[in-house]
Subunit: 348 residues, 4 copies
């Protein structure tokens, strides 16, 4: 592992140098994310079998080097951790390379494409004697799923008995197969089922309705997938990947004394104790936390570009003038006219 | 201005060194935000009249120095920009200090506490010849308001004719006055009105219903505030700061051919062309973008602490095993039992 | 008053013979309603200045006679009560005619077109010494408004402080004027304000935004109407009668400890005690009461026409067969095939 | 069949004389419904094995006679039609009695308790040569289900592929069994499935999660019931009869180009073409039709009791006075005070 704490000036712990393995759509997006969105990390190396693509990506990033071999990228002196975003069949080798260097790994899902290879990875990590891998099941980080998980964990509505999942895509890319409907789509419901319920899945059934005419020839779309769990729960998932109308992922947990649903364009929607509905945010911090974060990020981004954006001194002045009129109107009960100077050129 | 591009290793442009002026609730929160949440910036200096508070805050941040004078903090060699979060009456002096050094500023609202002082700041910035200040009207960065703004800007439902705002707080801190209801609360509706409609406010009325028994003696709560604009629009705001049930901010724009409302625990809610409702996210990127960001941030944070969290290799293996059973169940129509090895100790 | 109890065979009290005064849109609709929808009444007489229109309407109804004079209709021996649905300026005379005969009256709104004539009616009814008139403010019979009223009456969320009303029409008929926006549209909000709050309105303001291009020349549309009440409440009403998107009437009561809104395509929507949402029906009676009523009404209507509709014996048989398969499937855990005979011709 | 057209004075076709067989909860409720709610029918006879119960019920209804034998009730000279609300095992005999007299029948569900007896009824009706029976699957008359049916029938969103049903009860009466969960509860989903899709059900599966602790010993609650149809559709039903939180029945149809859901405390909720939401009522007739019906029914009921209720002349006068003030306020832009006379005693 590289020496963290020397490379960066940010924070008390030093910036994490990351090697991003794979520079396709997901890999390039993670590079952008590390660069522009999150705090405490930087891209130290990128690796892709396509040398040109790796170099183009590394070119725009100060301190990032391009490699064609994952192992070489991991050996870059600035690298503290590895993010694997290459195609699934390449994951096993990259994971073993990272284990050989004892580097922390964020591995895009799937861990590997089948259970046998996943088992080999599992055994290799056990030989290290400690966990090194986080698998990229990102739904566990979605605000809705997290709230649902916390409700289930604290038993807000009693034991969970069933889950109803819906997983809908507007359409599928060319070459999408029935097996991919399980391996690439339902795999997310597999993970959230195991995570939300804290149980293993013990059996699977798949029902296949007469397919939509909008599905490519041979694709059985939609499907209804049924899980049973070690806890005796039953989980159904509607998978409909050519639904035309958009992307929609929802999950309803049916518990002994209530149900909670996420994903329908509003916060957690609960039925319990004679009422349907949800929770009102307690204060402005919860309501506008994202706005505060975005505000400061936009200001930092604009400033680094040498630009000034957002509400100006004119906006501050106009607000002050309206406030003064408002306080007078409040005291008198009258209609109070707001007086403003002419808007200076600088603020047009 | 400090030399950007030399201080940090992150990104192509260098990390922005920020002096945070004021270390009360808002200032301390901005320090945390710059440190732990956003990318591209670091806290280089903090200033507070309370030296001990400034030092305690600076202590935990590598490379940050504590000052008691705003001007001294701005002179810190690592400082590229200034974030003013001191009390409103201190803003004018701090802004002039920043102008003297030609530093970019993010100034918490209000710009200054009254129109006369705001006008002086306006004139000082004009003498610089370029904009340096962004005022902290953070609602402009709220996802809901931004979507509403973009709908209005593209005329999705024709010209806006009215706005209905609701601004509700569970309760007020001790000492909250009628004037503060305008200056601290309604000021946000003043700004979003001006910004959403791109018009100035020309007149104000305030109606004061018989107050709730839950308001402190002397506080006229709720109130109905009415604005008229240069565009002839009428804007009403219910301000109810002891509503007991929580914090709720919503805004409905009434346009010639439809209305759009934000803030009611769901996405933008539209009435138009015979339908009520909203927009379905087109794809997984929009739906789960925040989850991807949070996933990588959590991984980076845990890794920097030397920890491993999140979905493990066991989760990757179990998902692979269920996928294999699922593909078989799909092909056969049968109930397929999932076979897993016993869970190794490392993953318990 | 006619002798009730002799005319009809329905119920223990006899069917109420109604004289319908005015056979325009509203009058004809009330005739249909008395005939086909409600129980316990029949149309005994209709009156219209247009003799042909009255006769055409009476022709299809057994026992109904047509008149041109309201007084003559009221003198019909089968008449027990009067429903006035003529134009507003004709109401005063018809009401006095009914008072002269001491007949119960349902009078479409407005009672009369102005306060002075309403006062004369008020005085005439007082001379009778008992109430005879019900005014047709039908919103008091809307399920949503009734629930809201009962919540306010029992103080579910404390004292009401404000009402926010919205009253939107897709468009206006030719000749619609600003005065009609008050007299024909806002009059409903005037009544629900007085009824819901149980207070009188003490003052009115009207704000007129720059109008929509979709309004006819000269119509100030939309408007914001403000009421103050004897209870100190403030009530605002958005009236927008050329909103294009449809008809929408909603009302939100803001109380000391919560708000309740009706009219947005769902049941009563409440904010209180940290939650938004509404009430779940306690049982199937509440949920399906209307369905039961409609079922029996449809059966009676079809039977009187000599027809048979609705679910058939085939539907009853098929349900029984699926139930048998279901009970077996439940006991065995197996997929059980449903066996049906071929569908007989009678049920195709 | 009795001579319709002679018995009643209401409407052009005569009032339908109904024999109600069975005077338990459902039967008594139907008697009330025919008496007080719907138009065009009257209760001519009631029959119950419990003679006292039948007589008590008939006692309050003019023209109704009590019987202990269904056949005797059907022979009452005032009877034109039969409503069977006796326990299921008694249905077959009563149906055959009605067939013998060629009387129209509304038969509460189930038609009969099993497929074999239903088949005998089916054959008997075929011998009549025409349909005489409507089975009491009342969901077909629920406003939500009817809208959903009409959307499916016109192919608003393409072919239906799946249905998701939820059927939740707060709790179960003593003695409720697993078989009753199918025969008494799921039977409704069986009927709506067949009706909405216009297909027969070909196979059934039942999955039984680990039950809630709130279910009585031995009751497998909740259950997931799966249907396959002649059209290849797959239908799932969550049946949860001790859910504690209330009664909830919903149905979502998944079609090729959209989904439509009813039953969640709002109108039909649709996902299609990038939008979620529903339809706005086009005009006041649709929005307030029920209010108009209820208004006139209440007026008739009160008048028959010799009472006067609802909005009074005072309400009419006060509305007129506020309208006058409103029109003045509209014209002047001023706050206009409303002048009312003191409220007369008659209207207090």
């Amino acid at each position: 592992m590289g020496e963290m704490g020397e490379t960066g000036a940010q924070g008390s712990r030093g910036t994490l140098g990351v090697a991003v393995i794979g520079t396709g759509r997901m890999g390039a997006d993670h590079v952008r994310r590390i660069n522009d969105v999150i705090s405490g990390a930087r891209v130290a190396a990128v690796a892709d079998i396509d040398a040109g693509r790796a170099e183009r990506l590394a070119h725009g990033i100060k301190g990032a080097t391009a490699y064609t071999e994952p192992a070489a990228a991991m050996d870059d002196p600035g690298v503290d951790a590895v993010l694997i975003a290459s195609p699934g069949p390449a994951h096993e080798a990259a994971l073993l390379d990272a284990f050989a260097r004892d580097l922390p790994v964020l591995c895009e899902k799937p861990l590997t494409p089948d259970a046998a290879s996943a088992l080999r990875v599992l055994e290799a990590e056990q030989k290290l004697g400690h966990r090194r891998v986080q698998v990229g099941f990102m739904r566990r980080y979605d605000a809705g799923y997290r709230t649902l998980k916390s409700l289930l964990d604290k038993g807000a509505y009693g034991r969970p008995l069933m889950l109803h999942n819906k997983h809908r895509n507007a359409d599928t890319p060319p070459g999408f197969t029935n097996a991919m409907m399980i391996n690439d789509s339902v795999v997310h419901e597999i993970d959230v089922t195991r995570w939300l319920l804290d149980e293993e899945i013990t059996a699977v059934r798949v029902l296949r309705p007469a397919p939509t005419d909008n599905a490519p020839e041979g694709l059985s779309d939609p499907q209804l997938i049924l899980f049973e769990t070690t806890g005796g729960q039953v989980v159904d998932t509607e998978l409909f990947v050519n639904c035309r109308f958009g992307y929609q992922v929802s999950c309803e947990a049916v518990c002994e004394a209530g149900t909670a649903r996420i994903g329908d364009d509003h916060g957690v929607y609960v039925n319990t104790a004679g009422h349907w509905g949800g929770t009102i945010t307690p204060g402005f911090v919860e309501r506008f936390e994202d706005a505060y974060d975005r505000q400061v990020q936009h200001w930092v981004d604009a400033t680094r570009r040498g630009e000034v954006e957002g509400p100006s001194c004119w906006d501050g002045y106009a607000a002050a003038a309206v406030c003064e009129a408002g306080v007078l109107a409040q005291a008198t009960g009258d209609r109070v006219v707001v007086e403003l100077i002419e808007r200076p050129d600088l603020y047009r």
